[in-house]
Amino acid sequence: MTEKADTPLYPLWLLAEVTYSCPLQCPYCSNPLMLGERSKELQTEDWLRVLAEARKLGAAQLGLSGGEPLMRKDLEILVAEGRRLGYYTNLLTSGIGMDESRIIALKEAGLDHIQVSFQADDSGLNDLLAGSDSFAQKQRVARLVKSHDYPMVLNIVMHRHNLDRMREILDMALELDADYVELANAQYYGWALVNRDYLLPTREQLQQAEAIAHEYQDRYKDRMKIYFVVPDYFEGRPKPCMNGWGRVFLSIAPDGTALPCHAAADLPGFELPNVRDHDLDWIWKDSPGFNRFRGESWMQEPCSGCDKRQECFGGCRCQAYLLTGDAEATDPACSMSPRHRVILDAVQHSAQLKVLPDPVMRNKRNAVRFREEKRDPQQSCADKPVV
């Protein structure tokens, strides 16, 4: 009847990370540790060109993300152009910077959908994790989204500090009348990797939370779709990262760097192309960066002889590099990886911690510190006490 839209000839998803500026400080942020300077951000006309070029390549979903995309004053212009070009336009926001006049302006510009992030269902925990008093504003925005007839996704990154509140979080989502809920278990790159001991849950926490998520999936299937994103650290199977390198996903960083995956800037040995220097057609089809891990020829054992390689594409290249130092290695989240031990040890280590470390909050001060230390991501991982 239908087939999954995953044919690898063109990007289906364009993720426009329009700024790294953000009023929140979540310690699991997927942005790079060093963030970037606002002065180096692409201008409106650069983004308009990117939207047109990606659409021509076949991108149909446009995610406007960040940082906090509402920090950009030209967001309405980008939404309007995105919609005019035929994209399904998604705004991925913390809610900070949204008010009624802006939500109306975005609707008039043609915005299709709004995803609002929450840290927890409880204002104290939410604000602690976000490093800012944001819970009340998020609630206001969620109600605005619904009252202006947008479909609403609630996104909650799950970890040690909120997994035990799964029931309360889902009750909040029901109360806010969310159409979809994404329970996204933290992925350990960038800030989340630095804060891994603070964030990693125990296996028991996860099992209980997952059972509650499934219970709500069944009970409320007519009201709300619930996605529970299984955490690769606990599964023994790697995630099919980005559905394969350079297959369907194209991300553009605030400074114009084109990325096959959020964390790809960490990888050594090749330069990622920038939309200031090249058009997207060349970037997607011909650039060395986007071809680096396409197909299977780069794979080592056990991936190269594995019958699951077309399901997981060898897992995540960034995770392989961050945890093994070898970007071509099998993702250590896979139980068949000879280095799977690093994952098991990390889980065991954090489960045994009696006192958790303080989180390194994602903010400019810490980003500057990472910049000054010129501390590469491998270093920040290697100095973790992984037994």
């Binding site: 009847m1 239908t2 063109y10 289906l12 076949g58 299709d112 007839d149």
Partner: protein, 91 residues
């Protein structure tokens, strides 16, 4: 299979869009953060679920367009599946 009333009317669910994609040379359903590529028969049926036509009108229309008979079960099967997926909504 769900039994649907052939006199009932369906349209795209809120937040969903149906459009032809040049690059894929196919109709797709777009929804928050997702997309499904439709084959020809699925798109022929979904495009007719416009919030005005009853299922029996759609069946007749398709049978005439393709000079075929007995398309009722195909239409009901596809519409049921699309309802389960949340792409369509009853009017």
């Amino acid at each position: 299979m769900t039994t649907l009333d052939v006199d009932s009317i369906y349209g795209l669910a809120p937040g969903h869009r149906l459009q032809f994609e040049e690059a894929q040379q196919a109709w797709v359903v777009l929804y928050p953060e997702g997309m499904v590529k439709l084959n020809e028969s699925a798109s022929d049926i979904l495009r007719r679920c416009d919030g005005k036509a009853t299922l029996s009108t759609i069946v007749t229309d398709l049978e005439q367009t393709y000079d075929q008979v007995e398309l009722r079960d195909d239409v009901i099967g596809l519409v049921s599946a699309a309802l389960d997926q949340g792409w369509l909504k009853k009017r």
